[in-house]
Amino acid sequence: MPRRALAAQLVMDESWAVGQVAPGRWNSKLLIGAGLVIWVTWLAGTVVGALGAGVVADPRRLGLDVAFPALFLALLPPQLRMRRAIVASGASALLVVALVPAVPPGIPILAASLVCLAGLIRR
């Protein structure tokens, strides 16, 4: 039980994607290992940022704001093995584009993740 509670802390977008071995199947060792790596590097990055942020004038100018989208793009192809997944991804993109001008930032992402509910429809 405590082991599970601790392991749950390491489940995040990235470790979840890396740990997925087949649609709907996860390798728990891979997932926890990836989570540990992310946790350590994330903390280290935060420390570096807190201490050294003043050195960098404008992070946008370094192009770092594409780093996150690029990371998720790199994680995306293994998720797109099935046609349903490709359709879900496209629908999510359209929904986000439609919602970004209309609602506060953050809401489009929540709304688009609801696209997965289409999976409830019987095949």
Partner: protein, 298 residues
């Protein structure tokens, strides 16, 4: 300080609990088949939703800029099956040169292209955004007018606000140019500005390269040099500031008739302010304002 740590502590505990509660209560059980089908679709939908706004969104506006080039480069790297450690540099590398050339070509405008400024998307954006305003406003027609009042004077007749030798000039050059009925056409215009036959015979030719506002010379009011709002950005950046926003002070909102009444009435004031917020940082509007205010950080 202690309050901050208290909040941090509470947030940490609640995040820990939220993450733990699912696996602890439900761990070890199989998901029902239908739920598994839905969960399967969550990663593709969520990852796409995380990518798109970070690349094509700029606050509440869609924007196409150098981030798209970075994403395209990342896409090529992914298609070539490059490892993630190469995908990230591939994405980051082209953005800086692309950003530079954008700034050179578009002169500090925030984005290369805003769908918000064209066709269906503009309609969708204005409809979607005016919904809450329409509900709150005492009178739906009135509610549209703080902006409509401005835009009709900006586009139909040629008033002070309508002539921008470049997209954004100072109010004085706008007002001065208004005398000559010089009309700014948005598309053709980054380089040209035509004069109507009813006005003086002077011709105005605004070249892209010029950073000064040239008023039509003969027959017009004055011929001095006026600062332009985008020059303020340059000056602040020269001073080591990172400019976050340039806004109009006494901009379109101040053209509203019965302004005092609007400001006193709490509900209408809200409507007016939300209308102003939508246009106050628009480069085309800055020139029509009495003052501009730049906000930057060092």
């Amino acid at each position: 300080m202690s309050e901050i740590w208290l909040v941090l502590g509470l947030l940490a505990v609640s995040t820990f609990a939220l993450r733990a509660v699912g696996p602890v209560l439900l761990g070890g059980r199989e998901l029902p088949a239908r739920a598994a089908d839905a969960v399967e679709l969550l990663p593709p939908a969520l990852f796409t939703a995380l990518i798109v706004p970070q690349v094509f969104g700029s606050g509440e506006v869609l924007a196409l800029d150098e981030r798209a080039a970075g994403l395209a480069a990342a896409g090529v790297a992914v298609a070539l099956r490059a490892p993630a450690s190469l995908v990230l540099p591939a994405a980051v590398l082209p953005t800086r040169p692309c950003e530079r050339s954008r700034r050179r070509a578009f002169d500090g405008h925030e984005t290369l292209w805003r769908p918000g400024a064209s066709g269906i998307l503009r309609w969708w954006r204005s409809t979607a955004k005016s919904l809450p305003t329409m509900r709150r406003a005492p009178n739906p027609i009135d509610c549209a007018s703080p902006v409509a009042g401005w835009s009709s004077c900006g586009h139909k007749s040629c008033s002070a606000a309508s002539c921008h030798p470049r997209r954004g000039s100072s109010s004085m050059s706008g007002a001065g140019a208004g005398f000559t009925r010089c009309r700014w056409r948005r598309r053709a215009t980054r380089s040209t500005c035509s004069i109507r036959s009813s006005c003086t015979s002077s011709k105005c030719s605004h070249r892209r390269a010029s950073s000064k506002c040239r008023l039509p010379a003969r027959g017009s009011v004055t011929r001095p040099y006026f600062h332009q709002p985008n020059e303020l950005r340059g000056e602040l950046e020269d001073g080591g500031f990172r400019v976050e926003v340039i806004v109009a002070v006494e901009g379109p909102g101040s053209f509203r008739p019965e302004l005092d009444g609007w400001l006193e009435d709490v509900e209408r004031c809200d409507v007016l302010l939300s209308a102003i917020r939508r246009v106050e940082s628009e480069p085309a509007v800055l020139g029509a304002s009495a003052h501009v205010l730049a906000f930057g950080r060092k």
